[in-house]
Structure formats: C-alpha cells, structure tokens
Symmetry: C2
Subunit: 117 residues, 2 copies
DNA sequence: ATTTTTACTACGACAGACATACTACGACAG
DNA sequence: CTGTCGTAGTATGTCTGTCGTAGTAAAAAT
C-alpha cells in the first residue's frame, strides 16, 4: 500500500482544502494537483470527494465561490476563496487533529516494540 | 474541545480494540474502560460503536467470541479473542496510519508557522 | 482528426458512527 | 423494600462523507 484513500482521512479533506485556500483562492482541478504534489503522490483526492467538499463548505460558510475566466486559457472556472469562518474552522480542525493523533498513537506501537508482532 | 468522537477517527476504532486484544481477550465493558484510561479520558467510545465493531470484526474473522462466567461476579460475559487475521489487520492499519499521519501533517501547520493564522 | 487533459455535474450506494431506547441483574443507600 | 447506580449488553433506524459510475464540454496535444 503506497497510496491512501479519502475514506481513511474522512473528515480531513475539508481541512486539507482549506489549508491550501488560506494562501490564495483556487479551483478544483488545480487543488487536486496541489494535493497530489504536496503529498508526494501519496494522496490523490477523488473528484467527487473534492467537489462535494466545495458544496458542503460553501453551505457551511467556510468558502465563497466566484466564476472567473482564466487569463491564459480563457476558460471559465469556479474559484473558491476561504472565509473568516473557514479559517476559524481550519484552526479548530488543527487542534482536533493534534488531539486525535495523540490518542491514536497510544494504540499504535512502534514496529516490534512489544512481543505481539 | 477536550474530547474526540469516534467519527473523527472513523476506521480506527477497530484498530484500537485490536491493539488491546493483542495482549489478552477481553469484553465490551472492560475495553471501553481501558480505552478511556489509556487515552487519559480524551476518548470515550460509544457503546453502539464498540459493539458493532465486535460484530463487524467477528464477521471479518479478526476476532472470535466466547461466553464466560466471570469468577468474581458470576455474570456471563461475551469475551473476544484476536485471531491471526486480526493481528495481520492490525499491522496493516498501523502502516496505513503512519502514512496517513505523514500526509495529513503536510496540511497541518504548527501554530503561527506561517502568516495565515 | 482523434485522443488527452482540463473542468466540472448528477445520482445512487455504502459503511461506520450515532441517537435513542430497551433489557436485566447485583449492590447499596435511604 | 424501593430506587438508583454500575455492569453488560441488544435492537433499530438515521446521518454523513466518500465512492462508483456516468456524462458533458471545451481546449490542448498528438
């Protein structure tokens, strides 16, 4: 196994997207490439997962969308911009992640740490 | 927020249960106490989550159940014992966790690391 | 001229977690 | 002797995020 699925990190897709949007607005296709690159190809988000995340987050007020013709290609794209609410949510999820990691790691041994491997 | 929910670590409840069962067989109520203790009270697994995990894992062949009267109280309890398949699954999930952690942490900044907080 | 890449949308299925509710027995307090 | 608390579960249905499949359409590459 060299690649993880969205399902494994269920609930953290929104967080990852928001992380990227904090720097500047972006759109689906670009974000999917950024996620792949930043994760060294270890995580490839599914299109449906990504676009349904946008819908959900816009409904929740974490992002705002705006359509813009790209200057290079002339194609219209739906960009997403993070809101203050979205930044707040990101910070919350960061704290949650740190706690979650702490807890899970109490149940994850280092390789051959005990005699049970 | 000082407590996490099962939903946050969706998919790792089975792993946490198996971790505890690797040492010796146990039963629902005891495991829920152990999970609470080991996590320093930060994670309290829901009864329904726990018992449905047993059902699922037994179906998957990760655990085997046996009923036993406890010597102290004389009450019958359903104990669960981890199988070889279960141990294998635990090791897989451990690897998956390490990878997941690595990926997620690329999207989680240290407090005030960048100017976006 | 055709295929690939870009950039999405629609729809239904699934699985794990959740809420709610119910059972049953023993201990122990009031 | 009655009621609550702790122990040890079972039953049932709902919710949510992800996934599978499919389809559209324009631009870029071959």
């Amino acid at each position: 196994m060299t690649e993880i699925s969205s399902d494994v990190i269920r609930g953290y897709n929104d967080t990852m997207i928001l992380f990227l949007l904090r720097k500047e607005p972006s759109y689906g296709y670009e974000l999917s490439k950024m996620i792949k690159t930043l994760s060294d190809g270890k995580y490839i988000i599914k299109e449906t997962t990504l676009y349904s995340a946008f819908t959900r987050m816009e409904k929740n007020g974490f992002v705002e969308s705006f359509v813009q013709e790209s200057m290079d290609t002339g194609k219209k794209r739906t960009y997403y911009r993070i809101t203050e609410e979205g930044r707040r949510y990101y910070r919350e999820k960061r704290e949650e992640w740190l706690l979650t990691k702490e807890v899970v790691e109490k149940f994850i041994t280092k390789e051959n740490e005990d005699g049970n491997d």
